[in-house]
Symmetry: C2
Subunit: 600 residues, 2 copies
């Protein structure tokens, strides 16, 4: 049976020593994030997910969701009761705005807790995760009346929420949306169309589900400029907040998927359902992108969360399983065999997982802090800087983070040998669950194109130049100190990224296919640099604590060793990624489609 312990110590190290949460105590919301509060959230939250949600992870996978003949959906055994406990304990409210019943804690604290949720039960986490995304969109673009009517019960978790973008003919290319919205005399709209892949589209956890739906208003342009965003409650809400009539939206079926079986992935049929415009007509895409950006950071966190729990189990197995002998001679001659820990190739996978998960944790929490600063930093300049940086990092956190999550889960499964392929051990579920994170909220290829095609050139490359300057400064600062080798390694990978950036600028404008062909290698190259930066920061922080004698010495020394492992064995990948990118699009785009067909 799988095991999971929320990595509170490591999270605290990042929050306290790397990010320095106390430096932001003067910002709104942060004043509540006292060390004691954060400690309580992480410790109690970690315990809750481990005790209540984690035991439902494997059973939820095995049982899956069931669509009943009447169109209702039953979640796996235990989910409903766990959700009730989740709501009663107030977990959904952590970072919700206080004016709508939230606790107003910083996003970065919520993010730390969210990682634990993802590790413990990703399929479960998606229910409140989608609600939070829908809430964010209403908060950003909804009217005051809409906020007052819907947000409090979404913040509390009493109601759920969803995002409805995809249709059978339209995924990435939202201009192809066919769902129609006909204006009604009372100001509402009649929504008609079919949406697919709607996570948490129908379930038995809440009395109501607030669907956010993209549709085209009658007469609107039939492209991305004609998309509007609507609130379509499953059950219409009376002005006093009580539930009214059942709306004309139903779950037509649920999908049979590779993983995340505990989450209901629905085909949603809108048959003249009553919808309420959010913001202005034809401005729906911008509103949806508010949800999408938050959601993308959340999906990156899923990569980390699954990677972490898979890694923890591989560690447990490596310590239990005895097989073969150390190459340097028996480590425990009195036993019939040594543990898997003696084998360098097992270590390779465990160290890579350790370096990646700890690096991604630092990255995700930094990204979350930047989201906070985007709204709360004292000056407009600081807010803009944070926004530019997190916009640049978002596709990396999502794309690189989930690619690594899948890799870690696959490696962790590999540590188990044949047992990793057997369902009862739980490892193969992590691989199946991790896989979706590379696909939804924009495939990782779409993330890479967002990075290379939108984020890099934005404002004349201001964000990437600011990023280069920041990394360069941190390298310079560390070069004179004991972590100079980490700084030098980062300097080398930064050089590769800068070279690749120049190559893209020189070649991508002339032939945009060069940019498209280099997008994924660039995203991974940037991932290596960003994680190198995290490891430099963690190395410097660990060294500082070691020097002052605070903290757990073994933990801090392991940080330095892992930082060195990253520099020795992961950072070199930057070299090849740049070369692959510089291989360009010529051979890649040359063949006619017919040349790909097999001939008998």
């Amino acid at each position: 049976m799988p095991v999971y312990t929320a990595p509170v110590r490591d999270t605290r190290f990042v929050l306290d020593q790397v990010i320095g949460l106390d430096r932001y105590a003067n910002l709104p919301g942060f004043e509540n994030a006292t060390p004691d509060t954060v400690e309580a959230v992480l410790t109690e939250g970690g315990r809750f997910v481990a005790e209540v949600l984690f035991p439902l992870n494997q059973t939820g996978d095995r049982e899956g969701c069931t669509r009943n003949a009447d169109g209702t959906v039953t979640t796996p055994t235990g989910f409903k009761d766990a959700y009730r406990q989740f709501v009663e304990a107030g977990w959904p409210t952590l970072s919700g705005p206080t004016e709508y019943g939230g606790q107003g804690l910083p996003h970065v604290v919520m993010t730390a807790f969210e990682e634990f949720l993802c590790s413990a039960n990703m399929a479960f986490q998606m229910y409140p995760g989608l609600t939070a995304g829908a809430t964010a969109a209403i908060l950003a673009k909804g009217s005051d009346a809409q906020k007052a009517l819907y947000v409090p019960k979404m913040v509390s978790g009493e109601w759920g929420g969803t995002m409805n973008l995809t249709e059978p003919q339209c995924g990435t290319d939202l201009g192809l949306i066919k769902t129609k919205a006909e204006p009604q005399p009372d100001g509402s709209y009649r929504i008609t169309g079919t949406k697919i892949f709607i996570s948490a589209g129908e379930h038995d956890l809440t009395d109501n589900i607030i669907h956010l739906v993209l549709a085209k208003v009658t007469g609107a342009p039939d492209n991305v400029k004609g998309i509007s965003l609507f609130i379509v409650p499953k059950v219409l809400v009376n002005d006093d907040g009580s539930l009214g009539e059942r709306n004309a939206v139903t779950c037509g079926s649920i999908e049979h998927k590779m993983g995340i079986h505990g989450n209901s992935t629905c085909v949603m049929n809108y048959d003249g359902a009553t919808g309420f415009l959010v913001g202005e007509e034809n401005k729906g895409l911008a509103a949806m992108f508010i949800m999408m950006n938050a959601a993308r950071l959340g999906v990156g966190l899923q990569g980390l969360g699954i990677g972490e729990v898979a890694y923890q189990n591989a560690v447990a197995y490596a310590g239990d399983r005895r097989q073969g002998r150390a190459l340097t001679g028996p480590a425990e001659p009195e036993q019939k065999a040594d543990t898997l820990f003696v084998h360098p190739d097992v270590r390779r996978m465990l160290m890579e997982a350790k370096a990646m998960t700890e690096g991604l944790r630092a990255l995700c929490l930094w990204g979350a802090l930047l989201v906070d600063l985007t709204h709360k930093a004292p000056t407009p300049e600081e807010r803009e800087q944070a926004d530019a940086l997190v916009s640049l990092l978002t596709p990396v956190i999502k794309g690189f983070g989930t690619d690594m999550g899948y890799r870690i889960a696959t490696d962790a499964q590999q540590v188990y040998g044949g047992h990793g392929y057997i369902a009862e051990w739980g490892m193969e579920q992590y691989v199946r669950d991790a896989r979706i994170a590379m696909i939804y909220e924009g495939t990782n290829g779409v993330q890479a194109m967002d990075l290379v095609g939108r984020k890099l050139p934005a404002k004349g490359g201001a964000a990437i130049q600011a990023f280069f300057a920041m990394v360069g400064e941190e390298i310079a600062a560390a070069k004179g100190g004991p972590q100079a080798p980490l700084a030098e390694s980062l300097e080398a990978t930064l050089g590769e990224l800068q070279g690749a950036t120049i190559w893209l600028m020189q070649n991508g404008f002339a032939n945009p296919n060069h940019a498209g062909a280099g997008a994924v290698p660039y995203m991974h190259l940037m991932g290596i640099v960003v994680l190198g930066l995290m490891w430099l920061r963690m190395g410097v922080a660990a060294q500082r604590q070691l020097d002052t004698g605070e903290g757990d010495r073994a933990f801090l020394e392991a940080k330095l060793t892992t930082a060195r492992f990253f520099a020795d064995r992961i950072a070199p990948r930057a070299l090849s990624l740049r070369r692959e990118l510089e291989g360009g699009a010529d051979a890649l785009m040359a063949l006619p489609p017919a040349a790909f067909a097999a001939a008998a």
Copy 2:
């Protein structure tokens, strides 16, 4: 619904133009492999697997195998009838020895057909695949009487066969085997113990199953030197070949696995079952390795087979699905969107899959030819050379081939976006099925250790030196010709491999953990070099045909483009792999196991 066409044209190109099968026509068995016969095998075989076995792939996955209360196992609907057709058409007999009812065709021809089998239905293919492995072991080490009694019905497919190595406490480390063999007065042995993960251990396809079982004879050393190999028929066979009593071997349960659901993975209980020694007591491991080596090449072929069918489907989807526009402007302005083919990142995945599958096909067929030459080359020197080379290549074909198979399947699934995650499209099954090939027959980490720890140092490094010399000669020969850029690319990657080899020699002896830590990067680096060699050979062959005006011009030009893609975008990975290897074992092995544990 997935599609599959056996890639006969490409197989013919490799056999005829790259390997030059006609040059071996004077060898035993090859005289029968006339162009017409090979064409018939590939065309008819491709048709058979596509029409009979491929339609059962998805249903077999969904239905899985069932263990009945009486211990029998029922294969998925249609498997039994398909197996009957498979046997009646004589497919199992292709490369079986003529003296036991086989057709005596070269292994390389059988291998070409096996790839199609793996693509069409890997779970099905494993039943005859295991039988062939068991047959090979009896042929190599069994007595004449054993061969006469068992082999004809195994070659025909009337009986099945299995390999029984793994036990609950013992996978890679076979010294830990507990299964006992007590000698009986009649020369037989009573076999008692539990074997797990036995593929095709029990099923309803054949009247009998010939289990090959590793066990320790009473009093034998309790380590790898005390392992013997036994034939344990499910049903005892009378001297006249008729079936006798049911033996005391039963299927205790079947595993619930990530994939290959159509194959029964059994816990086998031997309760004093009657077994017959194969070869000598305590020499079982050597006999089993004969099976293992053949099986490892076969598993590499599974990586290719799954990669190929996944790739074919990604190509089909990319042509059907319209989403977005080419970065260079609409390719088909009259349509609402362009096909996925216009997107460079989709191309990146398709071209990588094309370069990898075609490269692996050339490699697997070359490896199979070397197996033939090991037995059939005219001089002892040539036989030895072939043996040394295929021994070196086997872990690469298995380890690199299956890692790439999984990568291709994952990428092919990615091309489908969200639809790739939905079971009915069939893509997620390919990922799940491909995953096992990285684990069984020795995990890919074990393959890498076999390469670095055994194959490299064997005979003072003779095999790798011979390989370097051979590659160097082919580079030199091509450098003056039109494929010089391919030769130069290969020269660069060969340089990285040679550098890595020297590093291993200089550091691996002093500290074997350096060798262990570098094993997987080395295996992948060698994979890149070997595939580069295949692409040089294919490029030269395609150019030759283009120059003489024979062959399909578009097909040959696509070969040259794909070769260039390999050189531009895949070969550069050699750089990082060498650096990762040279990162060594210091940081990798430094942490105490406790440092890996998460702390709340």
